[in-house]
Symmetry: C2
DNA sequence: CTAAGCTGTCTGGTGAAAAAGACAAGATCG
DNA sequence: CGATCTTGTCTTTTTCACCAGACAGCTTAG
C-alpha cells in the first residue's frame, strides 16, 4: 500500500526538445492559417536554416505533424499542408453533461484502475463539506470509446454514500446513476474547467505522451440540502473529447444577457473516421535499426 | 507578409527531460491526493531510487514544484507538501462570458500584436459562412491583468464588418462592443472548449514555457439572420484563468435535465495574492551563479 | 532526356543533460 | 550532546540528443 513498485526501467526513447519546439511552431502556423493550406511547405533544409536547427530535428517535427494528419509528406516532392479536418472527437454539450454522461456510460467501456477508502485531501474535504475524521471513497477510472481511452476520472464520494454500491457496480454503471440509486438527491453542481500537462502514468493510461495537454474538469455535486455528494477530477484528451456550449441572447433590452441554449444532444461516440494516430510508441520514432 | 524573418538564434537554456517527467508525476500525485498533504515527501535519495534517476534530476523537479508553491523545501529537514491553495485565477462564468468579457475589457490591458486583412482559412470561412472570395479581418491580441498576460486571442471578422472600426478601437474596446456598435445584431454563439500545448511564440506572449498546457476556446458568433459575425480562437493560461459553470437540476420528474444557473458574476480580476510565480526565466531555473 | 530539388537514410563528431559520488551545513531525535 | 537524518553544492564521468554532411531514390521542371 504505497509504492506500487513500478520501477520505471523502460528503455525510454526520450523526447526531443528542439523538435518539440519546431513541431509546436509549425502546428500553430498551420492551424492559424499563417501557412496556407494545401500549399507546399518550405523544404527541410530551408526550415532547418530558418529555425537554426539541423535537418534531423526538422524531420522529427514533420514526422509528428504527418502522424497527426496535419501535413502530408511526398518523397521527392515536398511536404504539403492538409486542412485540419477537425473531427473524430466526442462532443459533449456543456449544459447537458450529466444526461450525456449517462448516455455515454452505456456506449463506452470503463476500466477501473483504483478503488478504496481513505482520508480526503483538504481541498476535497472542504468542497464536500466533510467533517474532520470523515473518510471518502476514492476511485480512478478510465473511460474508453472505440478502444481508445479518452478520459481519466478521479472521484471522491463520502464513505456513507459510497458503501451503498460495490466495486463491480462502478465498473458497469455511471457513478451518477449509482448515487441516485443510493438515495442521494442530486440537486446542483459546480464545474470548473482548466488544462494541465499529462503526467507519466496518466499519459500512459490515456495513450498520449507525457507532457501532452489535457482538458481538466473539476466538478462538485451537491444534494438538495447542500451537502457534498461527489467530487470529480476529470482529465480529457482534447483530440477525442470537446466541451461545447451554445448560447443565445435573451431579448432583454440593453441588458446584454446570455443564456445556455437547450440541450442539443450533439454527443455521439461515433466511429470516428480519423487519421487514427498510431500512438507514437512512447514518443519515439527512432528506428533503432542499429 | 510571409516569413517574418525571425531567426530564432537564442542560446536556449534547453529543458530537462527526465526532470520534467518526475515533476509531472509528483504534481499529479500531489493534486490527486495520493501524496498526503502537509506531510513530508520521501527524501531526495529515496525519490532518486524510486524513479531510477539521479538526485540532481530529482532536485530539478522539486525546485520546480517549489517555484509553483506546491511544496516547501526546508534545508536539513525535508520537502513538505503544501495544499494547492487554488486561487489567484480569474474565474469566468461560462454562461455569462460576454458580459464578463465586457466588464473585463475595462479592467485589463490589451496588447495588439497583429492586425490586418487576409483570406480566411477554410475552417474559418465555413464557420462564418463566407463566400469564396470574401476576406476577413484578422487580429491577434493579448490580454493582460495585473501586468501578467493571461490570454491570447485570435479573431476573424468579415471584412465588411471589420472596416467599421479602427485598429485603435480594437486596442481600447472589447471586440463585441465594437461589433454591436457597428450595427451587427449578435444573437447566438457556439463555444467549443479544448486544450493545447503552447507554441514558442504564444508561450512567449503569455509568459509561459513552450509546451505548457493552455485552455483553448473556439467561439463562433452569429447574428439574427444566422450570418457569421466573429470567429474567435482563444488560448488561456489555466493558472490565471478558469471557466466555471454552475448547474441546477430542473425539477422535471425523471427527465434528469440540467440547466445553467443564473449568472453569478464571480469574475474579479482581483489583486491575486498568490505565490506569484517568478516566471521561470524562459524555463530554466539553473542558478547560473558561477 | 537531363538537371535540379525534394524526401529518406545513413555516417561520425560534439556538447549538454544526466549520473555518480563526495562533502558541508542545518534539523531532528535519542 | 552526538548520531543520523535531511537539503544544498560542488566535483568528474557517462550518455545521448543534436549537428554536420554525404548519398540514394524519387519527382518535377526545363
Amino acid at each position: 500500500m504505497m509504492g506500487p513498485m513500478t520501477t520505471r526501467s523502460q528503455p525510454m526513447v526520450s523526447e526531443p526538445r528542439k523538435a518539440l519546439r519546431v513541431y509546436l511552431h509549425l502546428k500553430d502556423r498551420i492551424l492559424s492559417g499563417t501557412l496556407a493550406s494545401a500549399a507546399r511547405m518550405p523544404s527541410e533544409p530551408d526550415l532547418a536554416i530558418e529555425h537554426g536547427v539541423s535537418r534531423v530535428t526538422i524531420r522529427g517535427a514533420l514526422e509528428r505533424l504527418a502522424e497527426e494528419g496535419l501535413v502530408e509528406r511526398r518523397p521527392g516532392s515536398g511536404t504539403y499542408v492538409r486542412a485540419a479536418s477537425r473531427s473524430g472527437a466526442i462532443v459533449a454539450d456543456f449544459s447537458n453533461v450529466f444526461t450525456h454522461l449517462v448516455e455515454m456510460g452505456r456506449r463506452t467501456d470503463v476500466r477501473l484502475i483504483s478503488f478504496g477508502y481513505a482520508s480526503p485531501t483538504p481541498a476535497v474535504a472542504e468542497a464536500l463539506g466533510l467533517g474532520p475524521g470523515e473518510e471518502v471513497q476514492r476511485s480512478v477510472r478510465v473511460r474508453i470509446a472505440d478502444g481508445t481511452p479518452f478520459s481519466y476520472l478521479v472521484t471522491y464520494v463520502p464513505k456513507r454514500i459510497g458503501i451503498s454500491y460495490s466495486e463491480a457496480d462502478l465498473r458497469s454503471t455511471p457513478l451518477l446513476e449509482l448515487l441516485e440509486r443510493s438515495g442521494a438527491r442530486v440537486a446542483s453542481a459546480r464545474q470548473t474547467v482548466g488544462a494541465t500537462q499529462a503526467g507519466p502514468e496518466i499519459a500512459e493510461a490515456l495513450g498520449t505522451e507525457t507532457g501532452a495537454a489535457l482538458l481538466s474538469i473539476t466538478r462538485i455535486v451537491k444534494d438538495e440540502a447542500g451537502a457534498g455528494v461527489e467530487y470529480l477530477y476529470a482529465l480529457y484528451r482534447p483530440d477525442l473529447y470537446e466541451l461545447q456550449l451554445d448560447l443565445e441572447r435573451t431579448k432583454r433590452g440593453s441588458a446584454m444577457r446570455w443564456a445556455a441554449k437547450s440541450p442539443v444532444a450533439t454527443g455521439r461516440p461515433a466511429n470516428a473516421t480519423e487519421p487514427r494516430n498510431p500512438k507514437k510508441t512512447g514518443t519515439g520514432k527512432r528506428k533503432t535499426t542499429r
